[in-house]
């Protein structure tokens, strides 16, 4: 028993290290093709020994398909492909059929969105299309066919990142989900807010988002169950409103967490209130 506890705490420690590493950059891996006006904090290799090492580690993640690729529907990786991914991710967060969606576009999204087809891209993502789908340009018609109500607002309110969108989705049971996301370049995205809670979610890896009570032991419990299911955690972040209140875990994994596995996690971890998989 003591032995198994020791393993558990070592795992937690590993997870914390991984989470801390990703936290240092504050942006997802793989942002080679930066977006307008925005510079990743690590865009220049630092001469500092530690930071230089971390930079190397992240660079190793890049693939030839980051250079020649992605295959995508144009015209812009940030304004089109990234927009599809943002709303596609929100579709998963909602987890149920969506009947109504309202998009508020900020910054460069608001200024040049129409010319870049950002509006169509956002609708396409909500409909479940991927960035390389040739039907993105027909998204308005597809939404009409699927009885999806869409509404756009273009805001000139200043935002932290130029390519920002706020998505308010209402599912068929009338429940609202509100998320804010940024398209940070090269088709990469960052979901920064879910239902008023600050998060950091990239969608680069299979991800589960868990809403849970902020009580001691939940993180260890969840990571333990994942370990038993042979799921390796790549990155993990924990967010909360306030001590003891609702909290969220974003867990990015190397392999997808199947529906069956999600049921197991839900049945074994009692403090979980909701679980979404992306």
């Amino acid at each position: 028993m003591v032995g198994s506890r020791a393993i558990e705490s070592r795992e937690s420690c590993q997870i914390l290290t991984e989470a801390a590493l990703s936290g240092i950059f504050g942006v997802p891996r793989g942002n080679l093709k930066g977006a307008t006006d925005w510079e990743p904090t690590w865009s220049q290799p630092s001469t500092d020994g530690c930071a230089a090492f971390l930079f190397e580690v992240t660079m190793e993640q890049y693939s030839v398909f980051d250079i020649i690729g992605p295959r995508m529907t144009g015209p812009s990786s940030s304004h089109t492909a990234g927009a599809v991914r943002l709303s596609h991710t929100v579709r998963h967060i909602v987890g149920k059929p969506i009947s109504k969606v309202q998009f508020t576009l900020y910054g460069s999204f608001a200024e040049t969105g129409r010319g870049h087809g950002t509006d169509k891209a956002l609708i396409a993502g909500i409909l479940g299309l991927y960035p390389d789908d040739a039907r993105i340009k027909d998204a308005y018609q597809m939404a009409a066919d699927a009885d999806l109500l869409v509404d756009f607002e273009y805001s000139d309110e200043p935002v932290e990142h130029p390519n920002t969108v706020r998505i308010l989705a209402t599912d068929i049971d009338g429940e609202d989900t509100e998320a804010v996301g940024q398209s940070i370049g090269g088709g990469k995205i960052l979901i920064t807010e879910i239902n008023g809670l600050d998060v950091e979610l990239t969608g680069d890896y299979p991800t589960i988002i868990i809403r849970h009570q902020d009580v001691p032991g939940v993180i260890a419990e969840v990571s333990h169950v994942l370990a038993q299911l042979n799921i390796n955690i790549a990155f993990m972040r924990v967010f909360r409103h306030d001590r003891g209140e609702d909290a969220y875990m974003c867990i990015e994994t190397d392999t997808p967490v199947t529906k069956d596995m999600q049921t197991i996690i839900l049945s074994l971890c009692k403090s979980i209130q909701q679980l979404f998989a992306i």
Binding site: P70, A81, E111
Partner: protein, 296 residues
């Protein structure tokens, strides 16, 4: 296999010479070494990229494409047809330039393309590679190898400089795309790894300092025509290399110079649409018109 082989062009060429392999093969080996996919899977994925490239060229040259903004479309087809009538650039170069434009026109019309290295510069590599491939009867397997060689050069820029217009201006997008295309065709024509990088160095030298100044912030003007230039630049530098001309400044130093110039560029010239052609009276007028469409 050395994990540092993509640290510099010099290290990469040394590795290739030691192993008696091409740049493309080195790139492929590194991808396999990353451990996520088998060699066959990686080759198949790159072949899928080649297919999308091919269909985007075909679409732009045969169909009536028009961009969402209404600013572009149809010019690639014009140039392609004209290429039969004794063009000054030679019919081969003229067709490659038209093909490059075709891809970016398709991109602007919300068609499917392969970013190479970015969407705005996506025409150069397919334009050059596919046109030269037809001309010289290269097989698909050879073209895929060419794509890996191009990827190797792009990777060197990504690791040691930038391939983002927002970081380094147009030189980092269409410039790097030309360098990638030049290296690919030099390799497929039988040039050495060293010659591939020399050709890449020369293409960048030719467009060093090129700013990113998209009118109304859209990937259309001047991007589409700069892809045409990029194709011609790549083919010219490939020819210069293959006839024995070398670059006085070595590849790695050119990469550093490109990065330094990019960093010195004012923000106005790095994809913000606040400088260069975007700020001409006509450029501003177009931007105003787009804004009105947007607010409707």
């Amino acid at each position: 296999m050395s994990s540092r082989m993509f640290d510099s062009g010099k290290a990469l060429v040394e590795y290739c010479n030691e192993q008696h392999i091409t740049l493309g093969e080195a790139m492929l080996r590194r991808e396999v070494a990353m451990g996520e996919h088998s060699r066959e899977e990686i080759e198949r994925d790159m072949c899928a990229n080649l297919e999308v490239m091919r269909s985007s060229v075909r679409k732009g040259l045969t169909e009536r494409v028009e961009s969402v903004s209404g600013l572009s479309g149809g010019e690639a087809m014009l140039l392609f047809r004209y290429s039969k009538y004794n063009p000054f650039t030679g019919d081969n170069t003229c067709r490659a330039a038209a093909s490059a434009m075709a891809v970016v026109e398709v991109n602007a019309a919300m068609g499917c393309i392969v970013a190479a290295p970015t969407a705005g510069a996506s025409g150069i590599l397919p334009g050059v590679l596919l046109e030269c491939g037809v001309e010289r009867s290269w097989t698909d397997a050879q073209l895929v190898e060419g794509l890996f060689a191009a990827g190797a050069v792009g990777m060197l820029f990504a690791k040691n400089a930038t391939i983002s217009g927002a970081d380094g201006g147009c030189q980092a997008e269409t410039g790097v795309a030309s360098a990638m295309a030049a290296a690919a065709i030099v390799e497929l024509a039988g040039g050495s790894p060293d010659q591939c990088l020399d050709a890449a160095a020369m293409t960048i030298k030719n467009v060093l300092g090129l700013v990113c100044d998209p009118v109304a912030g859209l990937v259309e003007c001047p991007c589409i025509k700069r892809n045409a230039l990029g194709a011609a630049n790549a083919m010219l530098c490939a020819d210069m290399t293959l006839c024995g001309i070398t670059s006085l400044i070595p590849f790695d130093e050119v990469v550093s110079a490109m990065y330094a110039v990019g960093k010195d560029m004012r923000k106005e010239y790095r994809e913000t649409a606040k400088g260069g052609l975007a700020m001409t009276p006509t450029g501003k007028k177009v931007a105003q018109r787009m804004k009105r469409i947007n607010s409707k």
